[in-house]
Symmetry: C2
Subunit: 211 residues, 2 copies
């Protein structure tokens, strides 16, 4: 497959292309040149051509890109043409916010289960999904062949939880806990460290004031 | 100032150093060699030395780094030795989750106001802060000289909101809306595009299965 050769830097840019192409699709745009896309996305046309050349080009000289085709191809490369089941561990505000994103459902991420260690939450519902005791997580993940676990729990709980998830065959962890997880290589981890992001913002405020 | 020369790549790594140094500090560790830090953080000792050399080194040959000193210096570089006031626009689950992070308060980010356009939320409280109508945002930001606005609203509302924020003198926007904002250069923007992150995870699941 062509995507095996693609660098993580290019991959990191694909969701943004996908987002803009989705907007164009919604507006009924059928074709777009790399220059037009460059103007909207504020990246150079040459960067766009280079990125798209990684998976065969997608376009014809002087003709532009077919928006629908490009959208579909990128969705295949990103693996969002298939469904991915997920559970959320930690049914607090962050867990609820994530479960509520309609975008995720649209992109094939199917919210199947929610777990918490707070008995007051057991039986309450997040988008028709019942919150269950966290002790039931392992059975649930195994039985339902869950692919992705979203960790929205404190960092001291996240480390042992990641080990349990590894044991019951999870494929990927989307980690919001403020800690780096150690898991076997066959488990994909994507971290969202919100504090890190806020600190970068603080750095940039500081830098701007001192220039 | 030394930090003017530091590349964004190094800056991007600073919050992680800061996090690990904070953990070491909590454990009472006073000194650490670049090799020990390398073992914990899973980056090369040479990378650590290079990164720290950007701001004067911080260490003595064969002696290691003073954990407290390094922690304080990085906190100054990141601008989190000062207080930064923030408001949250969008008092849904995500806004509430962000307001609830005690870590942010500890790092000098002071939560001053919350705004929403849903009348049912007016007067309800998020951590002692009353949710106000979004129409009152501009006055509030001006009067209280708010530095950071956190946008946890849908993307179609985020674009006009960013323009309003620019007009009332905000310094930075922490943007959770699934859209790239266009603001003047004097406003710092840090995006947290959750869908992009989830798509990268999906790509990596796919890639792993196909290798």
């Amino acid at each position: 497959m062509a995507d095996k050769e693609i660098s993580q830097a290019v991959i990191g840019r694909l969701p943004r292309y996908f987002r803009y192409l989705g907007d164009l699709k919604e507006k009924g745009v059928e074709r777009i040149s790399s220059q037009e896309l460059s103007d909207i996305m504020k990246v150079t046309a040459s960067q766009i051509r280079q990125d798209f050349n990684n998976f065969g080009g997608f376009g014809q000289q002087g003709y532009g890109y077919n928006v629908n085709y490009l959208y579909d191809e990128i969705s295949k490369i990103l693996g969002i043409d298939k469904q991915h089941s997920l559970v959320i561990i930690g049914a607090g505000h962050l867990g609820k916010a994530i479960a509520g994103y309609t975008n995720f459902t649209r992109r094939g991420f199917v919210f199947k289960g929610a777990f918490d260690c707070n008995p007051e939450l057991y039986g309450t519902k997040i988008r028709d999904v019942e919150v269950r005791p966290v002790d039931e997580m392992e059975d649930f993940v195994r039985k339902n062949q869950i692919e992705i676990a979203v960790l929205t729990i404190p960092k001291d709980q996240a480390v042992p939880m990641a080990h349990k998830l590894a044991e019951c065959g999870i494929k990927a962890i989307w980690n919001f806990a403020h800690v780096d997880l150690e898991v076997p290589n066959n488990i994909q981890v994507e971290n969202v460290h919100l504090s890190d992001s806020l600190m970068k913002l603080s750095y940039n405020i500081n830098r701007y004031e001192n220039t």
